[in-house]
Subunit: 618 residues, 2 copies
Amino acid sequence: MERECKKMEKAIVCPGRNSKVKVFPVNIGDVKLKGLLGSRIETNRRTSIPSLYKSFLEYGTVDNFRIASGEKKGSITRRLATDSDLYKWMEAVSCDLQNEYDRERARLLDKLISLISKTQEKSGYIDTFYAESFRKERFKNLYHGHELYCGGHLIQSAIAHHRATGKDSFLDVAVKWADFICRKFGKGRIEENDGHPEVEMALVELYRTTGREKYLELAGFFMSKPYKILDGHAFLEFPGVTGHAVRMIYLCSGATDYCIETGDRKYLGKLLSLWEDMAGRKTYITGGIGSRYSGETFGMPYELPNLRAYAESCAAIASMMWNYRMFLITGEGRFMDLFENTLYNGFLSGVSLDGREYFYVNPLASRGEHRRKKWYDCTCCPPNIQRMLASLPGYFYGVSKEGLWVNLYGESESVARLFSGNKVRMIQKTGYPYDGKVSLEISPERSEEFSIFLRIPRWADNCIVKINGRKFTAEPGQYFVGRHLWESSKENVEIDFGLKPVLYSTHPEIESTKGCAAIKRGPVLYCLESVDNPGVNLFNCRLEKTKLKERFEPDLLGGTHTVSGEILSGQDEHLPLYEKADRYPDPKFSKRRFKAIPYHLWANRGTSRMAVWLGKHI
Amino acid sequence: MERECKKMEKAIVCPGRNSKVKVFPVNIGDVKLKGLLGSRIETNRRTSIPSLYKSFLEYGTVDNFRIASGEKKGSITRRLATDSDLYKWMEAVSCDLQNEYDRERARLLDKLISLISKTQEKSGYIDTFYAESFRKERFKNLYHGHELYCGGHLIQSAIAHHRATGKDSFLDVAVKWADFICRKFGKGRIEENDGHPEVEMALVELYRTTGREKYLELAGFFMSKPYKILDGHAFLEFPGVTGHAVRMIYLCSGATDYCIETGDRKYLGKLLSLWEDMAGRKTYITGGIGSRYSGETFGMPYELPNLRAYAESCAAIASMMWNYRMFLITGEGRFMDLFENTLYNGFLSGVSLDGREYFYVNPLASRGEHRRKKWYDCTCCPPNIQRMLASLPGYFYGVSKEGLWVNLYGESESVARLFSGNKVRMIQKTGYPYDGKVSLEISPERSEEFSIFLRIPRWADNCIVKINGRKFTAEPGQYFVGRHLWESSKENVEIDFGLKPVLYSTHPEIESTKGCAAIKRGPVLYCLESVDNPGVNLFNCRLEKTKLKERFEPDLLGGTHTVSGEILSGQDEHLPLYEKADRYPDPKFSKRRFKAIPYHLWANRGTSRMAVWLGKHI
């Protein structure tokens, strides 16, 4: 197959050098993570990836392709969009291969690709749901059918495979499918978009990979049409983020990719205002989005219930994908701040510590009934969590013509290639996010003057940066810029974020958090679980204005920092639902010590109540 | 048709004299209401009833019967359970005929009954949804199909018609249907119940009306089977109220009727514990129930959001029906207290002041987007509201062997027949619920010693009762019992409930009302609408500990009492969604006067924000 792709890049997204991007990602495989994220990636590799594949075998996800290709007899298991689950899982495996090459896995991918390619029809069509008697339903119900959604995941997965292995086998399938879609959709052909946006992002990435403009154009065409399921708006008409959260934010991610490549100012303006609506009025302190069970949608502004938070794991991932793209086009710290906050809280809560079970829904309080599961009939979240974890290294650094961007912190060894071609080796020594001190060794292959951009999170309002011993104060919520002639010998950057546990307050219009406070320590949100707090009534308590103490507990939940303090706990007396204020019994409180753990670690020790937001002492 | 029914009673429900009932209802037509409820009943009669019938003609509700009976050509409009809408409306008309006989309306009922009877098949089956090609679906999908639900409404409507007019024409249709169901369902036949409980209540009432035990037995049979849609419990197995609120509480109502007739103690115990779960943990201060949009279900204990309250009008009605039945079997004031609270708040809010528009969902706060509508595709609520309004007079009084029960208060002239056969005339002079003083004239036809039972609401903690000038203090939340030789001349009972506006507090586990207060004045809940409160930020305000003032405003919303006071209103500044507590800007407040109106009158003056729960001054 003829391919116009010039460069072999291995990043999560690969904007063209002529695009309107401010920062370019580095290769996933060039960042080796240890520490908290490294261990999660390791669990993902060793446990989550193989165990989900077993579930796929058990629940017919792979067999669907065998049956649709004629390789096996039987009947298709008709769960909508189930092909995309396998594609996402293959994307996770491909990304992970960049960091740890495993011949067995690469071979398994080859086998699956060969199977998928046998399933693909001559036209390019592929979707096992619409095989057999369902053939006649193809493209009849775009609102509900998820055909382009599955195809989008096919493209993304194929690109990830191509980037990881250099092979074209899977990419050929994706290109054939995309060419088919280009013939089917567009002006004068089917003039509609998919009920579940996803293909927009994928088409832009395929344009980046192949250089063929028709994919970019088709993405633009889709976005110019009304998204019926998202209140009927075409992209530029959205008054705010609305409807199904994953769909809305996948669309925003695709629109950002489109904007990066086209430089369309109208898109950028719309994206910024949508982001402000999401981040300023419709996001949980966990980073979770999409508060409503009903339709998995965004709520009204400030509609953020705790016990009934929906906050789908996939929606947190969508937000991370969008925030990253917004960062690429603007270079602004606020986007990576929200990325990081979502990463350590609403995203990481989605998978159990042992890597075997997943949350679909991530509430901010629970009476104990909410537990992770191995499998969901609509199992979109588990493979999505896996591909995000496997690609996480790729989010750490960026390069621009000015120099090197440090977006995330964590124990790691990495390389990045500057625009000059100069290769820079970076070693982060840190216990971040539990430790607030980062020591960063920068070693360019050869001396060069360039800027280093260090993200100073908004919470780090007491941050000190030292470059080779020279002290700077750094503005929180911004990238600190240090321009310098970097010698090829090791040069040292020290950052002290001034990490300590603090209480957070909330907007008064959020009805579920009135008069409440939450505990954060740096980017990590804390919660109380009843297993650590016997005798504390999590749903009727008041935080004392006492000192919050922190402690590293090596044997707790794989080793974590806990926060403790004093709390007034309501006694479990029988109180009336409503009563005249002057007759309502004064709730009886007793003073207790409490212990909080990181929110992302909750629900790993059997049934337990949990609360993030706690009453404040008043 | 042979009928074993001995007595001609005209009450809402007519328990047999041998049943385990403590209090017997009086005839609907024997209570003539004026005042607030009288005017709402009048609007129901003059505006709501005729305008809804017009909608039925417009949307095919009546035509469905014409088409199914072969009277007209065309195709059935397939809205699930739409037959029940017409039945409920006919029940409203029948009840209303007891209080104002209208020959035209009686004739329209006759015409409709004749049409319905033509639609009924020889077997007894009737349901226009399952005509034509849908015949083969009959009883195939009880979980979803609403066939027994529609039949239940057919029975209730036919009984109301029989009681109002003495005619058997409609009752014959209902009996024929019920006999068919008795042949189809039961041990060894179809051993399932309906996805939407309703027929249980209806079957017990048909037993009461005809004396045929098979209907009572079938109700018991249904309740012994698992209700799949309500978490799969048979009635006696429910651990609490759960699932779809209307279904659950219709079932509880039917179970109470069954318990009344059978005296089954297991049922009574279960009913009391379910009621405590509902009233003590899952009911809004409006009386509304069923907090979740998703599935129209009850939430977890204390899950009672304000902006996203579902609180369907039909669920408020279900609660009133159940509470009334619980009162009949126990004689306890707490049930009529909750009935009254629901009546004046969560129920009456369901219909506009002009009687033309209806709420399906009754939130406790609104940003203005929530408005009543004339018609819903699932239009269960409008005719349900109409039948409750038309039958309201029947809830006012009761009789027992001890004497006369006064359950509700309001300007009215009524009669009741004691067990002795002695007829008692009662005149209530009062502006209740806006006025807290009630003067009650009791005039028996002949002198007799009996007790008068006066419901003293729980909120009336300073209540004085005078009988012929003699003063008693009365315990709130109980029926005050005054035994006395009542002369045939007018005797006078004066009650002063000590009405004044007060603040209410809530259970600390309700996350949406933490640190909030609501205003009530007697049974009437108040709210703030932005139209009365320019410059007050309803979602960020604090009630001052200031005197609440009350005022009657004759020109406002048909004449109503308002409550005013001082409030600190947050300025509409841009506040962060989350921020460290010590950096979160102190919200700026300015002192304002506020004016509150009864909650049931909200949304009658164009778009307006609304809030029931307000922040407290702390």
